[in-house]
Symmetry: C2
Subunit: 402 residues, 2 copies
Amino acid sequence: MTRARTLPPGDAPVRQEGLRHLNLGLVFRHILSAGDRPISRTELVELTGLTKPTVSRIVDDLVLGQLIAEAAPVHGGGAGRPRVGLTLSRQGPAGLGLDIRGDHLAACVVDLTGTVRHLSFSPPIRPGRRPKTILTELATMAREATAAVADEGLTVVGGMVSVPGPVAERSVVKFAPQQGWRDVDAGTLLRTALDDLPIAVDNEANLAALGELYASDEDLRNFAYVSGELDLGAGLVLNGQLLRGARGWSGELGHVTVFPNGRACPCGANGCLQTYASVEAIFGPGSVDGPATIVTRADAGSKRTLAALDAAGTALGIALSDLVNLLDMDTILLGGSYSLLSSWLVDNIQAELSRRVLSSRWSTVAVRPAMLGPDAAVIGAALTVIEDVRQNPSGWLAHNSL
Amino acid sequence: MTRARTLPPGDAPVRQEGLRHLNLGLVFRHILSAGDRPISRTELVELTGLTKPTVSRIVDDLVLGQLIAEAAPVHGGGAGRPRVGLTLSRQGPAGLGLDIRGDHLAACVVDLTGTVRHLSFSPPIRPGRRPKTILTELATMAREATAAVADEGLTVVGGMVSVPGPVAERSVVKFAPQQGWRDVDAGTLLRTALDDLPIAVDNEANLAALGELYASDEDLRNFAYVSGELDLGAGLVLNGQLLRGARGWSGELGHVTVFPNGRACPCGANGCLQTYASVEAIFGPGSVDGPATIVTRADAGSKRTLAALDAAGTALGIALSDLVNLLDMDTILLGGSYSLLSSWLVDNIQAELSRRVLSSRWSTVAVRPAMLGPDAAVIGAALTVIEDVRQNPSGWLAHNSL
C-alpha cells in the first residue's frame, strides 16, 4: 500500500546560508507582531534568542530595504541612552488593489502597515462596454494611483484585481454575467498595459474575505464572508487560510440550491439562492442603487420590501446552514450590500441555522455585518499584495538587490 | 490597520543543532517517496545534496530506530560491490485503528509501509449496550491486536478510534444517534484501559477520507469521501489536507437541506439529505444488512428499490452540487455502502452536478466508488497513526532515546 510521493518544492537540505534568510524572517515577524508599538533592538534580541550583532545586521538590512523605519526616540525612566524603537515603514513597498464592479471601477493603494493611502473611483460605467475598454480605463487608474503614492515615497510592487466571477490561473475571468464576460484574460492585458507590473486576478468575495482577515484586530480565523453584491458569492476562510478549492472556483454560494424545483436562475438551474436573496431578487429587477433604496423602504415599513427581506433571510439561512454543516464555520460576515441590510436578515438566518445545523445542539454561529464595508474587495486586493511582502521580506530585499 | 499578530508556535531561531533533525527528515522523505523500490546510500547523497558521511550517519540512526531496513543486496551489471538498497521497515512502529460501527467493532494494525498486518471484527453487538461495555470490549480487541503483531516484531505506537458522529477535542463523542451516545469521552476511557497508549478519536468519514488519501497511488488531493453508512457523512480533503472546520464538526453532508419543507429528520430539521439517501431511507427502516439486499433487489429489477435508488441519487446530486459549488472538489468518492450501490446512483448524481454546479459549464467532477471498501474507516484510522511517524521520524527516534 506504500505509494511513491512527490516531494514538496524547495525540499532541499538546510545549510548555513539558509539561516540568514530564516532569521531575517524571524526578526521581521516580531516587528510585525508588535503592531503599531515600536520595538527596540534589545527587545528583538530577547524575543528571538539571536545575538546582538546578528539582530543589528538584520535591522540594518530591513531599514535599508525600507521595510522598517526608526521611530522617534523614547526616553526611558532611568539613565542611559534613549531607546530607538523600530516600526513598519510607511514608505517603501506598497500594494495596489483594482476592482471591477457592476457599475464602476476602483483603485486602492495600501502601505506595509496596511493603511489605505489612496482610494479612487471611476464615474459610472455605461453598460455594454467591451472588456478591453474597461481594462484600459482600469490601467489608467492604476497608473494615476501609482504616481500619486510615489510622491509619498511609496513603490507599488504589484497589483491584484477583484472581479465579480470565478477566475482561472489567477488571470482569466471565466464568467462574469453582469459584465457579459467569458474567458477574458484580464491579468495579461493589465500586465502588458502596466509595463509588466506583477498583476494577479481573483474573485471579489475571496478578496473581501482576505481583507477582513488581514484587517481584523480579533482572532478571526474561521468564517464565511458573504458578498451581497449583484452576484452573490462567499469567501471561505478556515484556520486563517482562504479555501480556493481544487481549481479556484469555490464559494459559489449564490448557486447553492435552496428550493430544487424553485425559481429559474440565469445559470440554467432552478432554486439557486441568488434567485431569492440577491439585491435584485429583494428589490426587483433593474435596480442599481438597490441597498440604499431597500433600507429607505424597509424603514418606512413597506410590506412588500419587508416580505422580500424576510424571504431573503430565510433563503440565506437555509444555504448558510448547508455551508456550516459542511464546513463548521463559527462566524458569518454579511458583506457588501448585506452589511446595510443585516438588521432585517440576521433573525431569519439564525432561525434556520439553529434548526438545520447539527452542531447547533451544542454550539452557536455568530452572524454579523462585515467590517470593511462596500470597499472591502478593493482594499482586500491591495492587502493581499502587501501581505506577500510581509510574509517574504527576504524576497523583497533580494528583488531590490539588498 | 496594523494588528498585533500571534506568532506560530515553535517560531524559534534556526541554529546548527536544528539541522540534524531537518536533514534526517529530508533523507527519510526520499526513502518514503521511493515507495516499494529500495534506494541506495549513493542515490540518497545525489538526491539530498548532503555529504556521504552525513547520509551514512542518518541511515544508521534510521536503521537502529527500525524506521528503515536494508533490503537484499542487488548486484549491478558491472564490477564492484553489490548495492545495498534501503526500504521502509516492516518491523518497528505500527499504527492501531479501532472502529465502532452500528452493528460491530473492528481493529486494524498497519506497519510503516501502510500494509495491513492485522484486521479483526467483533461478533454483532446487541442494541442498547452501554458505552462503557462497548469500549471495554474494544480495549480487549486492541490488546489482542497489539499482542498478535508483537509476535511479528511490530510495536503499536498509538491508536485512532473511528466513531459515527462528531467528535470534540479528539476524544469526546458529541453525538452518535445510532449508539444513543452523547458526550461520551471514549478517548480517555480507552487510554486508561490501554495503559496510557496515546489514543485519539475522530469521525468515521474523516478517517475513511484520510485512508483513501494515504493509500491512493494517484494524485488524489481534492475530494469528498461520501460515507454511505447508516449515518451519512462526508470527509472533505482540499490540497491534500482534511478540512475539520472551526471546531472539528465539518462534513455533516447528511444534514444538508435538500427539500426545505420535506421529510422530518430525527435531528429536528426537515428535508435533510439523510432522510432521502441513507441506506435506511432507500431500503426502509430497521434494516441492518441493507446494501447487499438492495443490490439483490435492484439486480432483480424491483420497481420499488429502483425508484428508491433513483430518488436517493437525485437527492445526493442536489446536496453534492452544493458541496462542489462551495468547495470546488474535483472528485467525489462514494464510500461504504454507496460503493456497492454506485452503478445505480452515479447517473443521477452527475445529472444534478451538471445542471447545478456553476463551473460545470467549463469543467467536470469525477464521481466513482472509493477504493478501500467497507473497512476504509478502520484502515484509515490506523494509517493516520503511522502517518504521524512518517511525518516526524525524529520524534519517534527521540521517543525511543536513539
